[in-house]
Symmetry: C2
Subunit: 237 residues, 2 copies
């Protein structure tokens, strides 16, 4: 299985002020390529924390994606932190510089604009078919902006760089009774289908408890067989 992780960088997510929208988008986008999002860290705009998470996750997973902190303001420290995580300096990307000069068409290339043209040594800009803004990669780490629309464009540019895996299919079924009533039977079904991952996700709706049972597997015919047993189970309640 090809596994990926995500580091969400930004005080604003951890303060509860901004709700992250990139995780679900990335999870589904990767899922369609057969890549399994397997761990997420959300960290402050703090160099040590970014370095620690990136270095832990790039050893543990095939891919690490990051979002946030690559803008022009003083609190945008992602690129410097990633360079330090790899033990390299940052440099101005020549290609990005040329494109920026074209775009500015004689207007001043200010320090904040110049800051955004830096990427870590050994990194490679990744241009997007969807937006002008490039992300970049360094080894197995893919660096993206935090604004969802821009992040999504950058992600499209990364498609060609990612190894694709077998796509996991999922089917979900709601059962309108508390989990403790069906937990034993569900465990039996799980034991019968070792190549299916069966999850039960409880909810409360209008004061009543229920759960969504989700089956996940790369094997569609196993899912067909398992689905029959799950529907039998649900029909009892």
């Amino acid at each position: 299985m090809i596994r990926a992780s995500l580091v969400i960088i930004g005080d604003e997510i951890l303060s509860g002020r901004t709700e992250d929208k990139n995780l679900p988008y990335l999870a589904k986008w990767l899922g369609n390529l057969g890549i399994h999002l397997s761990e997420v860290h959300i960290v402050l705009d703090n160099e040590d924390d970014i370095i620690e998470s990136v270095n832990t996750l790039r050893k543990k997973y095939e891919y690490v994606f990051t979002t946030g902190g690559i803008g022009p303001t003083h609190d945008d420290i992602t690129t410097d932190s990633i360079a330090k995580a790899f033990g390299v300096e940052t440099r101005i990307d020549d290609d990005a510089l040329e494109k920026m000069k074209e775009f500015l068409d004689g207007k001043e290339l200010t320090e904040p604009l110049l800051k955004m043209l830096h990427i870590p040594e050994g990194g490679e800009l990744i241009y997007s078919p969807a937006t002008k803004a490039p992300g970049y990669k360094i080894e197995n780490v893919f660096v993206m902006a935090g604004i969802p629309k821009i992040m999504q464009g950058m992600l499209e540019g990364m498609y060609d760089y990612l190894e694709k895996g077998e796509v996991v299919h999922s089917r979900s079924f709601d059962i309108l009774v508390g989990e403790s009533f069906f937990a034993e039977k569900l465990e039996e079904i799980q034991q019968e289908f070792q190549n299916i991952s069966i999850g039960s996700y409880p909810f409360s709706r209008d004061g009543k408890y229920g759960a969504t049972i989700v089956l996940r597997s790369i094997d569609d015919s196993a899912l067909d067989n398992c689905e029959i047993l799950i529907k039998e189970l649900i029909s009892k309640y």
Copy 2:
């Protein structure tokens, strides 16, 4: 500063199927107590991953909260994993057993119900004023359910166990111009106010770029002074 972290446990968040609602709630709730949510890990229903995150974060922060995986189904493995993280066994909590028997009033105490009464040795149930469901704590780790309504009730029960810090006040201002135009001036203001954390969070709205500038500090009068400069800056655009 008193700092906390959160481990969100659940395949359903990482698949993108379910959007977590507990992070922003916890961040704001803790913020009101002067406790700063400083890192979040989102992990699969996988023992090794849960153990690794809990053991990393409980050494790094004053408090670790966890959500999810304490139900009765086979994929609920949080309590077993936390016991292993602390190197202890789980045991049935006598008080919880008694309350469950009362509640069942002669009905069968099934295996799934029994499973939910286990907590790690050395742990302590924490009853909530808001719901009947208890969470539990073991050392500086606070374990809660994933369903937001239940999680919120458990959290109320944890209030008395937490040391309170100085509350950080925040003020936010929108500026309707791209960040690169004001980044240098904003950095100057940041340098002038060392006891304020100034963040700039870009957005795009109706195709135009802007940013929300957020000031955070425990010092209200410093915020007053800083606010004047920020408003001056915004008035230029």
